[in-house]
Symmetry: C2
Subunit: 524 residues, 2 copies
Amino acid sequence: MDNKRGLVPRKIKGFRDIDANLNELRWNIINKASKVYQSYGFEHLDTPILEYAECLGKYMPDEDTVDKGVYSFKNPEIEPVFRADGKRELRDADNNVVMDHAFLSMRYDLTAPLSRVYAERLWTRAIKNQLVEGTAPLFRRYQFGPVFRYETKLDPGRFRQFWQLDFDTVGSSDVASDAEVCMILSDALKAIGLAQSDFKIRVNNRKILKGFLHGQGITTPLQEQAILRVIDKLDKIGLRGIEFELGKGRKDKSGAIIPGLGLDEKMVSNFLSFFEIFSESDMNRGQVIEALGEKIGNNEVSKEGLQELNRINSVLAESGLSDEAVLFDPTLVRGMAYYTGPIFEVESTQFYLDHKGRERRVGSICGGGRYDGLVKQLLGVNVPATGASIGVDRLAELLTLTNRGGTAQGPLLITVLDKEMMPEYQKIAKELREGGVNTEVYYGPNQGFKKLKKQLSYADDKNCPIIILLGSDEFEKGVVSVRDLKMGREIADEVTDKKEWRARVQHEVSRTDLVSFVNQLLNK
Amino acid sequence: MDNKRGLVPRKIKGFRDIDANLNELRWNIINKASKVYQSYGFEHLDTPILEYAECLGKYMPDEDTVDKGVYSFKNPEIEPVFRADGKRELRDADNNVVMDHAFLSMRYDLTAPLSRVYAERLWTRAIKNQLVEGTAPLFRRYQFGPVFRYETKLDPGRFRQFWQLDFDTVGSSDVASDAEVCMILSDALKAIGLAQSDFKIRVNNRKILKGFLHGQGITTPLQEQAILRVIDKLDKIGLRGIEFELGKGRKDKSGAIIPGLGLDEKMVSNFLSFFEIFSESDMNRGQVIEALGEKIGNNEVSKEGLQELNRINSVLAESGLSDEAVLFDPTLVRGMAYYTGPIFEVESTQFYLDHKGRERRVGSICGGGRYDGLVKQLLGVNVPATGASIGVDRLAELLTLTNRGGTAQGPLLITVLDKEMMPEYQKIAKELREGGVNTEVYYGPNQGFKKLKKQLSYADDKNCPIIILLGSDEFEKGVVSVRDLKMGREIADEVTDKKEWRARVQHEVSRTDLVSFVNQLLNK
């Protein structure tokens, strides 16, 4: 037996089951936020879990295996390949249609599928050259659901399948729609149950940084990305760390050497003096705009970015979002390469205690930004777009860690003291449900009066508030016994005498009064 | 350009996007039915989209390609292989741990993952031999979400990703829980909005058929499956067709020859005389039980099945489900091989007209049954289980075809007549939202008074009930123009004069009365 393959029931690493309590939390987040998204005019869209890899862009597997963070595989179906103009099938030298098994990917976010949806709708106009830049139609949608990342290194608490809850405005270059992103995130988080002081929304504009880098002679996207990646670590490694990583490199805690970008000292000091002002500052939005105005000089890109921040500020002011709620933070970078303008991050301000009693933070719970170039990869025409995403699982984790997790209440349980009375139990169950009480009849293996203890432990495991006991004696008397398990749990420590405990939690109720009695108990 | 590969934004065949209207329908179905499931004591479970292929059982890809109706691929991660006893890793002759890229599958239903969850929870007890048959704990869960089938032949209206909405009771052999399945399906469909007369629930017990087949000398599962598959076609091909397919075969409409099973005439006539009684009969449940009692003879398996039907009938009677609502139909088979006892099917009784004006039926909208052997594949111990599934997409299709589809109402739209007034528009939007009105500010490319027409057509596309118009003149007067688009659409045919039309649908309202005025219009 030892040298044979076995079958062990298990989940794939990085995947998990969601139980009733966590589902309560998850769906409270989704339903509350969706309602807020709707209240701003976003419509509900759903897209497939599986897409053509090339239509999701960016990540492209180049082998037969899943690669680069995305679960991908070859389509089992063979299909014609399209020509570059998209109008007809590609043909080989012998004029045969070229066939291929395309790569399919499980979606890694909800933004790439949105780009596909938008591009697909405008495709006919695009290939007829009828789509002029600046006239792409407005489309506002929200979407929620699982996304998938094949992370080879999984940090604790991170998963390969996790839920996102996105809203996006495609077709608007007006940064008022970026200001709106902040309003929506704020409204949604409050609707979910967070207090204003539980989170801060940080805003920056990539154009300001980009322009500043241009001013320093950094012009290639590769250099830009490398520098932004360093600046993104400011929170973790501080200004001193930034200085080393932009310059000569440094050793981290473990003694490992992190190579620097090797920028010259003058440039590094220019960067530092830029970030020094804003790092850990408590300037309000107006002061940040003023300070930036002095710092950025005459670079056109930066000036455009600053102008946009100005418009965002005036819209925010009118919509009642204070300088404490929404901060302008010129040091904010965010990872994604596709952002082109305003960027957003919501940070939880709350602490929790880890298993060693140390104070910890959950950190970022939402993120977003403007990505005017993303749709272009599919459509060939620039289409402005902005939006943000709530990390549903991250937020659920935060709520759980700060003791605001979901507790799913179990149903009332009708115990089965006599198997033959099953039709009667059903009748009572029906009445209770019609009276608004969630009611389960016990169908487990331990039916009968003698196995009541096992039925009770089932009720306890399931957090049932009440059980009902009905044998043939009670039936003939026209009564039912109702035991208040919720109260029973509450007084269990204080009342240790079994008889007294039962006298206090168990009530004999007339059959006709049952529904109203139970409802009274539940509403107590 | 012609001979290069192109990138065309598109969905994979058999996959689709779900728009706001269809989402409204989908989530109404899910939310209403979930509430019913909860009211019976089922808890909400969610499982991953991706699972180890072997843990889903049944369908196993034996090549590097996706096969046999399931999307499968090799895990990019290499992992240790388990020994047959499940306790440790398998080792090769040199005592090295055997490593493998396991196959992963996208779930093809929600029942197989439930078996995995249940088996995983009891695994430790099972490998210690502490799990005795008949003592497996009770677990009742509901789950909804997309499932995936790689169908090579896609009928119109069928999809490769579709949603199911399941509830199951694992650990109960009491067929009262099967009776409950009927109650739940009935309650759920009514909660969703179907009338009692819109559907019929058909019930049978596999044991009766199985016993009957035994009595005819059919004992191997292969023979049994083949015969059941023929009987399953009764609705389509009628008794006459069954006769041929059990016997010598037949020609179908296209002239293609369908081979028969080649059973001898005596046996075929026995089958026919069995099914004749029940096909198209209008016996009530009691009469079916009586007729079966006469037909099945002394076969123990059949007798057990009949006894179960009897218990189901007595529970159903007490729970108010009439003979019209729940039928006993001994000809019902259902496809899945894993059913072992009672089986269920809900059939829509409604017709719709197809594009040629012909009457059509949607057919089956829910199905389920008892599958006492499924968990055993993973756990090695028989665990009784029963449940059913609502086909969410099928039901949504039915509702759409019978003109009860969802219509998502758009938000109120604040048009942008003057870009500089954006902060003011935001302020109004905020007030309206706080007053309970879904409100969108127009951020599209066509801002400004001159492009109002394009903004109006956006509002029409989005089914907005109201738009708001506010320029600097109105602003100074402290008023706002409110146009009732809903009424505008209603009277468009009758009032053709533009001026008159506008006079009837457009109102100048004081800024302070705006929210209450809009609410009045919406509640009209």
